[in-house]
């Protein structure tokens, strides 16, 4: 029997702020344990949480980027549970009036090859709500250690509908979500630092069946490929249980990336009753039209919209856009170069194929690059105007420009790399080369057309690469024909 998987994802994203969501102590990763707390974070008696405006604004922006519906009024509730990661025995979260309802996310599935764009799909979302992150536990043999540094960090939970069917779709969803949040400057989304975390709900059912199968939640999927691998394992496990005549139970399972398998954590019977109620310490937030419009005006162009624009406006091939698009800083660099370059596509080429390569080799970031967009544009224009050959630009000008940050035009002049302009001079050199290599000429004349490349190489060497290859070929052919 054919089975179909149904997948929904819950993604927790730390919203980029300077201070915590309900108090003013700073947020951070890797600080000395329990050095980022205050009485509000620790839930000491008599404290009053006050919400961070930035956390609310950035969350609304996420809701808008996800085409969700932003309510007129949103409020916060207490989610009650006992666990050492929460010092006050409840987590401030949102229950029935989340900051965003509904919404959708455009994703791109893997294409048939790296050069071909994959299929695009839209995944439906349930909601997004803004809550406080909790402390971190370090489990030892007999005991656990609690660090509250992370507690109180603004955390946005984005919940998808059970609208995905393959691990690849889940992978594409996370990739697209991360890209969108980075564009919105709302989160760094570094999964290694726990800034983006993912739980997955997955069930399987016979293909064609409407009714959903028994749902399993997988936790600890702490990398994008972990989500893909964890889901692939779990889907196969569920199918095998069903094929073997067994039954599945609703449970929560953990993902062990090292062993490459999921394991039982707890069953449905042990699931929580959180007894949500409105937090009396916090006032509701009303999002009026003016505020909404101001935030809407600050939204960036979305990644896939930008990619479509790059196809239309600059005729960039998919391969170049797939390198540029995930990195907004790189896109900005390219667009600045494209404004000045006669051939924007060539500018993209130089950035993706040469600049990124050199930066990678030197271990530098784009912001540390001595080459700026104007210099890339100038280089493109020098080639386009026939001032230098592409080869020399690549071999002599670009490395120098990368090392020193000098203008390409100045490098061409200083090193005397310009294409030789005098046709007469070039003809003289070609003629000399033809005279000096009668054997090769004879070979060409006897039908071995490729032998002419040897002569071209000689001309290039004689001119130290400055001859215009577009002229050299025809010129040599003409001179050889005269010999025949």
């Amino acid at each position: 029997m054919e089975y179909e998987a149904v997948i929904g994802l819950e993604v927790h994203v730390q919203v980029k702020t300077e201070s915590k969501i309900f108090s003013s102590v700073g947020v951070g990763f890797g600080a000395q344990p329990n050095s980022l707390t205050d009485p509000v974070v620790l839930g000491l008696p008599g404290v009053l949480p006050v919400i961070n405006r930035e956390a609310v604004e950035k969350s609304i922006k996420v809701g808008m980027l996800l085409n969700g519906s932003i309510p007129r009024v949103t409020k916060w509730d207490r989610k009650n549970y006992f666990y050492p990661d929460s010092p006050k025995n409840y987590q401030i979260s949102q229950f029935d009036r989340p900051i965003c309802s509904g919404g959708e996310l455009e994703i791109e599935l893997k294409g048939p090859s790296r050069n071909v764009m994959g299929e695009h799909k839209t995944i439906a979302l349930t909601r997004a709500h803004l809550e406080e992150d909790v402390g971190k536990l370090i489990h030892l043999e007999q005991e656990s250690l609690v660090d509250f540094n992370r507690a109180g960090t603004p955390l946005l939970e984005i919940v998808s509908e059970p609208d995905m069917h393959t691990p690849e779709e889940a992978y594409a969803y996370l990739t697209a979500l991360k890209m969108l949040l980075i564009y919105g400057e709302v989160s760094h989304c570094d999964m290694e630092k726990g800034q983006m975390r993912c739980d997955a709900n997955v069930s399987v059912r016979p293909a064609g069946q409407k009714k959903l199968g028994v749902k399993v939640e997988i936790k600890n999927l702490n990398s994008i490929s972990g989500v893909r691998n964890g889901l692939a394992y779990e889907i196969e496990r569920q199918i095998q249980v069903l094929l073997g005549g067994g039954t599945l139970v609703q449970e929560t399972r953990g993902w062990d990336a090292a062993k490459g398998m999921t394991y039982h954590l707890r069953s449905k019977e042990e699931s929580h009753d959180y007894r949500y109620f409105p937090d009396p310490d916090l006032m509701p937030v009303r999002i009026d039209r003016r505020w909404r419009e101001r935030l809407r005006a600050s939204l960036p162009e979305k990644p896939f919209d930008r990619q479509r624009r790059y196809f239309d406006q600059y005729s960039l091939p998919y391969t170049l856009t797939s390198v540029l698009i995930p990195d907004p800083e790189l896109c900005h660099f390219f667009e600045e170069a494209a404004k000045r370059a006669k051939l924007p596509r060539q500018a993209a080429n130089w950035i993706v194929n040469n600049l990124l390569g050199e930066l990678g080799k030197a271990g530098l970031t784009l912001s540390e690059s001595k080459v700026n967009p104007a210099k890339i544009a100038q280089l493109v224009n020098l080639i386009e105007e026939g001032v230098i050959s592409k080869n020399l630009a690549k071999e002599r000008v670009f490395p120098e420009m990368f090392k020193t940050g000098e203008n390409p035009a100045a490098i061409v002049q200083a090193k005397d790399l310009g294409l030789s302009e005098s046709a007469e001079e070039l003809e003289k050199i070609c003629s000399e080369i033809v005279q000096a290599n009668p054997d090769t000429v004879a070979e060409v004349l006897s039908g071995n057309k490729k032998a002419i490349n040897f002569l071209k190489g000689r001309v290039m060497r004689a001119t130290r690469g400055k001859a215009n290859p577009a002229l050299v070929g025809p010129l040599l052919e003409k001179l050889i024909a005269e010999k025949g």
């Binding site: 702020t17 003013s24 050492p84 030892l140």
Partner: protein, 97 residues
């Protein structure tokens, strides 16, 4: 205890991690039942056309600007912790998903 506003006192005690004596169970059942009774009474009021509210005071949009200030030094933060190690609170091992 059973009735229209009875409460499952064992379940509530379990959720609150409280161990109750038989006497306490009886007393709290009655008290919590009274509270439910009170809310049941409130439920009878016709509120159709009244906008729901989350708070007794009509105050909205109380914000803090996103500026950070120093918090508590770790030793101060951990002052009340019954057990600690390496600047962290030491608790019995509890593993949960």
């Amino acid at each position: 205890m059973s009735g229209p506003h009875s409460i499952d006192i064992d379940y509530v005690a379990q959720l609150a991690r409280l161990e109750l004596t038989a006497k306490e169970r009886e007393r709290f059942s009655g008290q919590l039942g009274d509270i439910l009774q009170h809310f049941a009474q409130l439920n009878e009021v016709d509120v159709s056309g009244v906008e729901p509210m989350a708070h007794a005071f009509p105050v909205e949009n109380v914000f803090r600007e996103d500026k950070s200030e120093p918090g508590l030094p770790p030793e101060k933060a951990l002052e009340n912790a019954p057990r600690k190690r390496n600047n962290m609170v030491l608790v019995p091992k509890v593993v949960e998903g």
